[in-house]
């Protein structure tokens, strides 16, 4: 239980995927312009990321590793899993809940190219993916906890940042810094704040 909690916390705050590891910044800056879209995007990411990790865990453990081809086939295999999954999720949601489908809009297909999904799925199954010294080798349960942590960390930052950007647009800022440049400065300061979590509980 304690191990699961530490895995979650490490993924959620200490190694926050956006501000500390720089993964998935394109969707971060593209989507966080308003509050509602960022909530829609983070819901979609939590959902797809968790499913992708579970499927990739199975693909690695039962197909790639026993056949000894993991090292050079994992990139195409995982990205195909994710692309197929996104397509599948899109069809299911469209069928089951058209309202939710409408709310998510373009964010569902966009998730295919969201590096966070590939990174989270790969790092929880392939040993030494994130840092060569870190051997994850998680069990399915640990891998799921890790992924949910990563996805919630993404949601936390993207929603927080959307709120911040709505305020920034009405702030008096030099003309050449308006828009993206000031957003990057704000992200830099938030990242500085997140660095403060480093070393929490010795992680």
């Amino acid at each position: 239980m304690e191990r699961l909690f530490l895995i979650f916390l490490a993924a959620f705050l200490i190694n926050n995927i956006l501000l500390i590891r720089f993964i998935a910044l394109c969707s971060f800056f593209g989507v966080s312009t308003n509050f509602e879209t960022s909530i829609g995007m983070s819901m979609a990411v939590v959902f797809v990321m968790t499913m992708a990790s579970a499927v990739c865990w199975g693909v690695w453990r039962f197909v790639l590793e026993p056949m000894g081809v993991g090292e050079f086939l994992y990139i195409p295999a995982f990205i195909l899993v994710i692309a197929a999954l996104v397509q599948f999720v899109e069809m299911v949601i469209k069928k089951v809940s058209p309202t939710l489908f409408k709310a998510m809009g373009i964010y569902l297909p966009l998730i295919t190219t969201n590096c966070a999904v590939l990174a989270a799925a790969t790092e929880s199954v392939k040993p030494g993916f994130w840092k060569l010294s870190l051997q994850y080798n998680y069990t399915l349960g640990e891998s799921l906890v890790h992924t949910v942590g990563v996805a919630l960390g993404y949601s936390l930052v993207i929603i927080m940042f959307a709120a911040m950007r709505e305020r920034i647009t009405i702030a008096p800022i030099p003309r050449s810094m308006r828009g993206f440049p000031i957003s990057f400065i704000a992200a830099g300061l938030s990242s500085l704040a997140f660095l403060g979590f480093k070393g929490l509980f010795g992680i």
Binding site: L19, I20, R21, F22, I23, A24, L25, C26, F29, G30, F72, L73, Y74, I75, P76, I79, L80, A83, A84, T112, T113, N114, C115, L118, A119, T122, E123, F129, W130, K131, L132, P174, R175, S176, M177, F180, P181, I182, S183, F184, I185, A187, G188, L189, S191, L192, L195
Partner: protein, 202 residues
């Protein structure tokens, strides 16, 4: 009006620079720009994948069905990324270790899929090569600029391939520039500066 190949080439460098203009492919650029050496490795790897996938996709574009084009693009890109991944692991283990996850993550780099979708899929081979080279140069320039600012500002010297290129004596470097927040700050400030210069030029 038919745009010239020269136009396809140069648009990626300034007007539609993937990082400052289109705002895509940011993650890798911010993460690897701590050292000039890493920036060189990363831009070489990304340029190779971008140009090769542009060539292959524009060659086979008439055979691709519209409905399944994204999976096909991704398979093409993933194959080239695997080539780069294993080649770097074999011949440049130091660079490979420094770049870490960013080599496999080229497969989801938005620049490459974005150009496949927006350009290579609708244009011929020669123009796709021009587009690929232009976009690669645009990416490389920004990455190098960021890396020079961050390495020189953060450590006081630039060390690439076991040689010290520049060394500032008596300069107490602010280590912030080397850390994660420094990447965001450098990028934001560089972008603001560029806009200021462009605004003045217009």
């Amino acid at each position: 009006m038919q745009r010239s190949i020269w136009h396809d080439f140069k648009i990626g460098i300034i007007e539609e620079n993937p990082l400052f203009g289109l705002m895509i492919g940011l993650c890798s650029a911010l993460a690897v720009s701590t050292k000039v050496e890493n920036a060189i490795f990363m831009s070489a790897a990304a340029s190779f994948v971008l140009i090769c996938s542009n060539i292959l996709i524009s060659m086979i574009r008439k055979l691709i069905f519209d409905e399944i084009r994204i999976p096909i693009f991704i398979v093409v890109i993933a194959s080239f990324v695997t080539i780069v991944d294993l080649t770097m692991k074999a011949f440049f283990p130091v660079g490979y270790a420094a770049l870490g996850v960013w080599i496999p993550l080229i497969v989801v780099n938005c620049i490459i899929l974005g150009r496949a979708e927006a350009f290579a899929y609708t244009h011929g081979v020669v123009r796709s090569i021009a587009d690929g080279i232009g976009m690669s140069l645009g990416y490389t320039f920004v990455l190098l600029a960021m890396a020079i600012v961050r390495e020189l500002g953060g450590t006081g010297e630039i060390v690439a391939f076991n040689a010290t290129l520049i060394s500032l004596k008596g300069f107490n470097p602010p280590q912030l520039l080397q850390s994660f927040p420094g990447a965001f700050l450098t990028f934001g400030l560089l972008m603001g500066l560029l806009r200021k210069i462009q605004g003045r030029a217009q």
